[in-house]
């Protein structure tokens, strides 16, 4: 029998240790049967399915998708990027909440964020440009869906949900626009709120409800803040869940043309 070198012994011990760790009780309790984290990954059709089936996030996708749908030129990944930007905005938004008070101090908080807090300026910029980008990407996604005729049967209702998601995205962006509490914010929201005041019959009430008063004040700031960080994200997540679910239930991606 050949005597193992020290190096080989170490290697063998490492493989044994990692095998017993992967197959051990701890990993078995965390990962589902068949997961590559439990038994390693060897490329095979079976394991390719397991990668998707055993992960809650990847599980948004079916195990197999139509071949034409994975071409980047078909979707430009716009729907996925919309969702991804929403996640980026959620993470940066939660981070910004640590440094922001929706009161008269809002403006000072933003100034401090930009000048005294590590990465404050970068994260604020990411949140703002990311928001503009999300409006754009969601709109482009809608245009892509339209030009492919992907709203047709059986996907009519998912188009309706998509329009609702676009409106919610606009509302999220609009409510966030007020939060820096500078001249740009307050007057943009004043213009928008005055437009709501032209609603027939309930115009005055709509404007009053939006402003929490007759004009944009710190009461409006608090109202928009709660809408922006809790209410609208809560609603949009529900609609997103239905949207993604319906994509799969309606037979996956549309086409090919």
């Amino acid at each position: 029998m050949q005597k193992l070198s020290f190096r080989d012994k170490i290697k063998e011990a490492r493989i044994n240790a990692s095998d017993s760790f992967r197959g051990g009780k701890l990993m078995s309790s965390i990962f589902r049967p068949g997961s590559p984290f439990r038994k390693g990954y060897v490329d095979s059709p079976r394991n390719r399915s397991y990668v998707v089936m055993n992960n809650v996030l990847y599980h948004l996708h079916p195990v197999k998708v139509k071949r034409h749908g994975v071409r980047l030129s078909y979707t430009l990944c716009l729907g996925g990027l919309s969702f991804f930007l929403f996640i980026v905005l959620t993470i940066t938004g939660i981070w910004l909440m640590f440094y922001f008070r929706p009161t008269e101090l809002a403006y000072v908080d933003i100034q401090n964020l930009q000048t005294s807090i590590a990465f404050g300026s970068l994260v604020r910029n990411m949140h703002r440009w990311g928001a503009h980008l999300m409006v754009l990407v969601v709109f482009l996604h809608m245009s892509r869906v339209f030009y492919h005729g992907a709203y047709k049967a059986p996907r009519e209702f998912n188009w309706v949900i998509g329009v609702i998601l676009l409106l919610l995205t606009l509302l999220l962006s609009f409510t966030g626009y007020l939060l820096p509490w500078d001249q740009l914010a307050i007057w943009a929201v004043t213009v928008g709120g005055n437009m709501a005041g032209y609603t027939p019959v309930i115009g005055a009430q709509a404007k009053f409800g939006l402003f929490a008063g007759l004009e944009a004040t710190t009461a409006t700031l608090l109202r928009f803040y709660v809408l922006h960080v809790l209410f609208l994200p809560f609603i949009i997540v529900i609609f997103m869940a239905v949207h993604f679910w319906r994509v799969r239930k309606d037979g996956g991606i549309s086409g090919p043309l």
């Binding site: 059709p45 390719r48 990668v51 998707v52 990847y58 996708h61 079916p62 195990v63 197999k64 998708v65 139509k66 071949r67 034409h68 749908g69 994975v70 990944c77 996925g80 990027l81 991804f84 980026v88 403006y107 930009q114 970068l122 910029n125 990411m126 703002r128 440009w129 990311g130 503009h132 980008l133 339209f146 030009y147 005729g149 709203y151 047709k152 049967a153 996907r155 188009w159 309706v160 329009v163 609702i164 409106l167 962006s173 609009f174 626009y177 500078d182 001249q183 740009l184 914010a185 307050i186 943009a188 213009v191 928008g192 437009m195 709501a196 032209y198 609603t199 004009e215 944009a216 086409g255």
Partner: protein, 266 residues
């Protein structure tokens, strides 16, 4: 009457002829209604199976030559010789054969969907997806490192900027407001055109075609909408100055504070 194929008719006639002891031609004529049906003088050759060994059945059945094997019930092992090849499910019924109907040959299940060409999500979809997410992250971080988000003076309700502009995605609407009555341009158009028509679009457009060449009107409609919204927004962002008067960005500068730091970027 259903049009019965000739070969089936002949096969059926042969069976009838054999059962009744007549010629095939005669049977065929009877079945076509050209001759009087032969009166069945004798019962057809059937096995009458009974649990009691070889009884006289209700009808004089001449064909009960062999003792009937009791198939289903475990009768006392008096007559049971061996398991019969075919088990009849209703032994008291006398079996005759006749043509009742002809079922046309077609699949009983209609395939609703054609098999489609599919690939594994991992890695064929998830890798491109991952790459685009990373690219987007890189782009966003780069953009945020270069361009500073605007922050003007503190909000002051007593100082109205001129012009006061909405966020860019509402500037097309704000531009419309300068043409028409606010009730029309500010509320009815966005509500009816922007929300109701937009949501109802799949229910209005019932053309099932998806290829662009077969839905020219829809494509044209959307492209006009896109161009209109784009032009109004660009006008609102770049070409409107104090008092919402027409300005040229290359002469009078840009009157949109959201873009302020983009322009003064060094």
């Amino acid at each position: 009457m259903v049009d019965i194929p000739e070969h089936l008719l002949i096969r059926s006639a042969e069976a009838r002829a054999k059962a009744l002891g007549i010629t095939v031609d005669q049977a065929l004529a009877e079945m076509k209604g050209e001759a009087e049906p032969t009166v069945i003088s004798k019962e057809p050759d059937v096995q009458v199976i009974d649990e009691t060994p070889a009884p006289a059945a209700e009808t004089p059945a001449p064909a009960a030559e062999t003792p009937a094997p009791a198939a289903e019930t475990p009768a006392p092992a008096t007559t049971k010789k061996e398991t019969p090849e075919e088990v009849e499910f209703a032994p008291e019924v006398k079996v005759t054969q006749r043509l009742l109907t002809v079922v046309k040959a077609k699949p009983i299940q209609k395939p609703v969907s054609e098999p489609v060409d599919k690939v594994n999500t991992w890695p064929h979809l998830m890798l491109p997806e991952f790459v685009s997410l990373m690219a987007m992250t890189a782009f966003l971080i780069l953009l945020s490192a270069i361009l500073q988000a605007p922050l003007l003076e503190e909000a002051n309700p007593n100082v109205t900027p001129n012009p006061a502009k909405a966020p860019w995605y509402f500037l097309g609407l704000q531009e419309l407001l300068s043409y028409w009555d606010p009730q029309i341009a500010g509320v009815m158009i966005p509500l009816l055109l922007g929300v109701v028509l937009w949501m109802a679009f799949p229910y209005i457009d019932r053309n099932p075609e998806t290829h662009p060449s077969k839905r020219k009107f829809a494509i044209m409609f959307y492209t006009f909408f896109l161009a209109g919204a784009g032009i109004l927004t660009i006008i609102g962002v770049l070409f409107r100055g104090p008092g919402w008067n027409w300005t040229y960005p290359w002469i009078d500068g840009i009157w949109f504070d959201d873009l302020l730091d983009w322009i003064h970027f060094e």
